[in-house]
């Protein structure tokens, strides 16, 4: 059978010219689309080094004549920016830290985002793993119902419950709290449950049985055998989930206004800078926000892309 396949692969059959033309037309369209995706960032990157005066005097397309690295340091550290008219613009977001008023620079927002992303990812992945493992590997009453529930939550959109969720969080005193956002994200029956269910389902139970014969308990089987087996898949899910948390604007904008994350704080700072015509500083802020996400993407590009393809979709 394999020989047949190899033979077939070696047969060269040319498709019509029109098909080659179609392929090249699509290639050109792809190039244009790719340029439309990459060019704006290159343009923004170059302009982020220009002094505002140079940018507004018409050097929009060329390289900076004067490289102004201070655009970055001012924005990153939250230093006041002095405009051409002499007025001073604050590049921080007012918030609170341990009950005291605090001005968050992008540097501070970075720290908040890193802490939030780390803790939310850890809790969500862990609880998704515990629920997915038990539902996929143990037989007990209601396990089918739990699986059906996860599918239901994924497919059926229920709009309109956000105001009541806010009220519930308000009742718990979690409407302006880091812990509140952490708590919300530590669900065990979301999309990650569904994906991990598939991972655990595909791991042979024989390993667990062998360990059980050797005297290992249920917890030991889970932590020492099953989790390490699923670890590559779990890491990829964690990376994808972490990117989602890092980029999440909605939840912090509702429940963590006094402790801005980068995604939320950037939106606030962008508004201030743009309103005062500080475009080059706006560009610098955007580039700063891109750096960590691009670093993660470069480090995990294969993992991210392969698992996004998997993404629970069968096809």
């Amino acid at each position: 059978m394999e020989n047949t396949v190899i033979k077939l692969k070696n047969v060269k059959i040319k498709r019509g010219k029109s098909q080659a033309v179609a392929m090249w037309i699509v290639f050109v369209i792809f190039v244009i689309y790719s340029v439309s995706l990459v060019f704006p960032f290159v343009w923004m990157f170059l302009n982020s080094f220009k002094p505002s005066t140079e940018f507004f005097q018409g050097n929009i397309w060329g390289l900076p004549q004067t490289w102004r690295f201070a655009n970055y340091s001012e924005i990153f550290l939250g230093k006041p920016v002095v405009t051409e008219s002499g007025s001073t613009i604050i590049t921080t977001v007012s918030g609170k830290l341990f009950g005291n008023t605090f001005k968050y620079s992008i540097f501070h927002m970075f720290i908040v985002s890193i802490a939030l992303t780390f803790l939310c990812t850890l809790s969500n992945i862990f609880f998704s793993a515990t629920s997915a493992y038990v539902v996929s590997k143990y037989k007990f009453a209601g396990r089918q119902a739990l699986y059906a529930l996860a599918i239901f939550l994924m497919i059926v959109p229920i709009a309109g419950t956000l105001p009541e969720q806010y009220q519930l969080m308000k009742t718990f005193g979690l409407t302006d709290s880091f812990f509140g956002v952490f708590l919300l994200s530590s669900a065990g029956f979301g999309m990650n449950f569904f994906l991990m269910y598939g991972f655990f389902k595909n791991i042979s139970w024989t390993y667990a049985e062998a360990a059980r014969v050797d005297g290992a308990g249920h917890a030991k089987v889970f932590f020492k055998i099953m989790l390490p087996f699923a670890m590559p898949a779990i890491i990829s899910l964690a990376v994808i989930y972490a990117i989602g948390i890092w980029n999440d604007y909605t939840t912090p904008s509702i429940y963590m206004k006094s402790m801005p994350t980068l995604a939320y704080g950037l939106f606030v700072i962008r508004g201030t800078l743009e309103a005062r015509g500080l475009y080059t500083q706006t560009f610098a802020a955007m580039i700063i926000a891109l750096v960590p996400i691009l670093a993660v993407f470069i480090a995990f590009s294969n993992t991210i892309m392969e698992n996004t393809v998997a993404g629970g979709l069968k096809g």
Partner: protein
């Protein structure tokens, strides 16, 4: 060994039962421990929230009664649903629904077909296919604040490169984001621009998992590309297309950040989700039941549509194991 013990004495049987019982208890405890927090979380943040939401839709807030401050919730029957239903027929209500449905149309009838065609060609050993895949994926990981800002700047009437191209040819650039519905079309364009790559990646992955032999035979037969795409590829990746289509349907309720980031605060481009988001934390307690009823009513109306579309799509092509 255990069987031997059973055969030897009745005491052995008793001890085996004890061991089995102990095992069952340990297993049950383990299952309970592993599920306790996820279930509690689900019960509170989904169960209680949804229950409260449903209850609230049948209530109204009374701040003052007979001149006395009472601040209480009283039964309101179906009044909130009636109000929500009536809000659909107002000018604002209609526009919000139309704007929201527009995202579904853009997603399912423009972006998805484009993604199917693109992913097929990417799969056909196109030069730079890997580079394209990476570039197409980038918008999926970039914060929407950044992506929306970049997009807006491209069309800025003063400094935007696209407006500069217009000026280069002596034409004055239009006010891209100025008046509705132009501003809405620009947001739809953003959704295609930023969202196409993700769908391409999903679908090209699905095509990549098809058996290679199929394409070899198709090549031998000299099947034209279009026939290969519509006759072989689309039927075989239909489950992925169905899922992507269904997710596109739910965008009617989910899209919120795109209009918010691009046209912040402009009520003309409001969507269902954005209307609900803006009501969160509002001081006006009395308005809350109606907004919840509005969301729930739309969800109830949408559910049979989603299920029907799913039913129909699953019957267009049968699922094939390969």
């Amino acid at each position: 060994m255990t069987n031997t013990r059973i055969g030897v004495s009745g005491g052995g049987l008793v001890s085996l039962r004890k061991i089995k019982k102990r095992k069952d208890i340990f297993e049950t405890c383990f299952i309970i421990l592993m599920l306790a927090y996820p279930l509690l979380h689900f019960a509170v943040f989904w169960g209680v929230v949804n229950f409260n939401s449903i209850v609230r839709t049948f209530q109204r807030y009374v701040a003052i009664e007979n001149g006395v401050v009472v601040n209480k919730w009283v039964f309101a029957g179906l009044q909130n649903f009636r109000n929500a239903w009536n809000s659909f027929s107002t000018a604002d209500g209609k526009r919000i629904i139309i704007n929201s449905i527009g995202y579904m149309i853009v997603s399912n009838f423009i972006s998805l077909p484009l993604a199917i065609i693109s992913s097929y060609f990417l799969f056909k050993k196109m030069p730079l296919a890997k580079v394209f895949r990476v570039i197409f994926f980038l918008p999926s990981i970039i914060p929407i604040v950044v992506l929306a800002t970049v997009y807006r700047f491209q069309f800025d009437s003063q400094i935007g490169p696209i407006s500069s191209i217009f000026r280069l040819f002596g034409a004055s650039p239009p006010n891209w984001f100025g008046l509705y519905p132009n501003s809405q079309y620009m947001i739809y364009l953003y959704c295609i621009w930023a969202g196409l790559g993700y769908n391409v990646l999903l679908l090209s992955g699905a095509i990549g998992r098809l058996p290679e032999e199929l394409f070899e035979y198709s090549k031998l037969e000299g099947t034209p590309l279009m026939r290969e795409m519509f006759g072989i590829v689309i039927p075989l990746i239909w489950p992925t297309i169905t899922t992507t289509f269904l997710l596109g349907l739910t965008s009617v309720f989910g899209v919120m950040l795109q209009p918010m980031m691009i046209k912040q605060g402009d009520p003309m481009v409001f969507t269902i989700a954005l209307r609900i988001y803006n009501s969160v934390g509002a001081a006006n307690e009395a308005a809350r039941p109606e907004i919840i009823a509005y969301g729930l009513l739309l969800s109830v109306l949408a559910l049979p549509v989603i299920l029907l579309v799913r039913f129909i799509m699953e019957r267009i092509y049968s699922d094939v194991e390969f």
